[in-house]
Every structure is written in structure tokens, then in C-alpha cells.
């Protein structure tokens, strides 16, 4: 039975995250904040969306 609870619980949590992600995606960005950019210079985590290397990789492809 605990396995069923675990499955149900994680499904609810996953659904909650998906819902919040969708709501955030659909929420319009306030005026004047459309093209805000991070001042992150980038660490070694190249997979992070804020890493400047992401732009270079997209540009290369």
C-alpha cells in the first residue's frame, strides 16, 4: 500500500508543478520587463539556461 501512496503523492506533486509551470508561462511579463537579462557571467554549468554559453551554442546550431 505505501507504494500506491507514493505513486499517487508524486503524481499530485508532478501535476502541481506542471500546472504552475504552465500558469507561469501564460502569465504576461510586466511592461518594461520584456527583455531583462541576467548579469550572470557563467559558471561551469553549461546546461543552465542563464549561462552565456547557451546563446553561443544556439547560434552555432
Amino acid at each position: 500500500m505505501p507504494y500506491v501512496y507514493a505513486f499517487l503523492f508524486i503524481s499530485v506533486m508532478g501535476a502541481l508543478y506542471a500546472l504552475l509551470y504552465y500558469c507561469n508561462y501564460k502569465t504576461p511579463v510586466p511592461k518594461g520587463c520584456e527583455d531583462l537579462k541576467t548579469e550572470c557571467d557563467g559558471c561551469k554549468v553549461l546546461s543552465c539556461g542563464n549561462n552565456p554559453a547557451q546563446n553561443k551554442i544556439e547560434g552555432d546550431i
Binding site: 508524486i10 506533486m13 507561469n24 502569465t27 510586466p30 518594461g32 520587463c33 543552465c48
Partner: protein
């Protein structure tokens, strides 16, 4: 009360999350070029750590333990932190464009900040009660903010200093971080 004060001082200065545990190094190096960015990032981390810690603490003792599924702790905490960041971003977008302009930019960075997950897990591992959990959850990000601010102030000075070409950028920043870590060991006997 003394115990809570000791816990706070320990979390801020002695066992600082960046300089003694090496968590949150990504924003520490990435968002420390300017003091204004450092304060914004520190405030956003403070908000998310306190909020996420309260939720994860409640979920652990009210849901995971009664259902006997404590082994789901890690994945639950990750989902809670990610969801909390999304929720925070929605609220800020809707109700405070000014705050979004200063903080919203840092919110996606916080999801990948392992310091948030560390505090959520450490609250459970250490067996804290509610007042200790709240004290710890406030103190750790305060220590994070303090170190980030000092480090960014030093980096601003470094930008106008003459540094050998091979040391410019992250190399000299890492040397500074190492010296700061050594300096902070001086607080070891404080409490």
C-alpha cells in the same frame, strides 16, 4: 533563546553555506560582479529558502511520515522547490512589476541553487523543531547574502585593479573566495 542565537550565528558565520559547505557556488561566482546584483540575488534566495523550507518541513511531518513514504523525500523536495519558484514568479509578475524588475531575473537561477535543497533536507536530518527550523532557514540565506555581498564588493574593486592577464576573471575570484574561506575559519571559536 540562547540555543537559537547560537544556531543563527553558527549558520551565518561559522558554518557558512558557501565558504564551509561549498553549496551555491554557481550564483556565488556568476552573480557577484556588482553589489546591486548580489543583494537582489541574496534577497531572492532568502525568500525562496524560507518559503520552501516551511513547505517541505510541513510535508515531511504531515504527509511523508504518516504515510510511511519517507524515501520519497528527495524527489518531493525538488518538486516543491521548483513549484515554489514558479509560484513566486507568478505572484511577483502579477502584483509587483517593480519587484519583478529587480528580483524576477534571478528566480530561475534559484531553482538550480543546491543551497535551497540543502537547507530543506538539513532541517529534517538535524531533527529541528519549528522555531529552530525557522531560525536556521533565515540564518543560512543571511550568511549566503553576507558572503555574496562582501565578495561582490571585492570583485568591484578588483575590476579597477591591475591583475596579471592570466589571473583576470574567475582565477582571481577563486583565489579571493579561498582567502575569504580562510578568514571565516577565524569565527570557529566564536560560539
Amino acid at each position: 533563546m540562547t540555543d537559537l542565537f547560537t544556531l543563527a550565528i553558527s549558520a551565518i558565520l561559522i558554518n557558512n553555506i558557501i565558504l564551509s559547505k561549498f553549496f551555491g557556488m554557481c550564483p556565488f561566482l556568476g552573480v557577484s560582479r556588482k553589489t546591486s546584483s548580489a543583494i537582489g540575488m541574496g534577497a531572492a534566495v532568502l525568500f525562496v529558502i524560507v518559503g520552501a523550507s516551511c513547505i517541505t518541513y510541513g510535508l515531511h511531518y504531515l504527509v511523508l511520515v504518516p504515510l510511511g513514504i519517507e524515501y520519497m523525500q528527495l524527489i518531493t523536495f525538488i518538486l516543491v522547490i521548483a513549484s515554489f519558484v514558479q509560484l513566486t514568479e507568478i505572484i511577483i509578475k502579477k502584483f509587483s512589476p517593480v519587484l519583478y524588475k529587480s528580483l524576477g531575473i534571478y528566480l530561475p537561477l534559484i531553482t538550480t541553487n543546491c543551497a535551497v535543497l540543502f537547507v530543506a533536507k538539513d532541517n529534517i536530518t538535524q531533527g529541528f523543531n519549528i522555531s529552530e527550523m525557522l531560525t536556521y532557514s533565515f540564518s543560512v540565506p543571511l550568511g549566503f547574502m553576507l558572503v555574496l555581498y562582501i565578495f561582490s564588493a571585492i570583485r568591484e574593486r578588483l575590476d579597477s585593479s591591475k591583475v596579471p592577464a592570466s589571473w583576470v576573471g574567475n582565477p582571481i575570484a577563486l583565489v579571493v573566495a579561498g582567502l575569504m574561506a580562510i578568514a571565516f575559519t577565524g569565527f570557529a571559536g566564536l560560539v
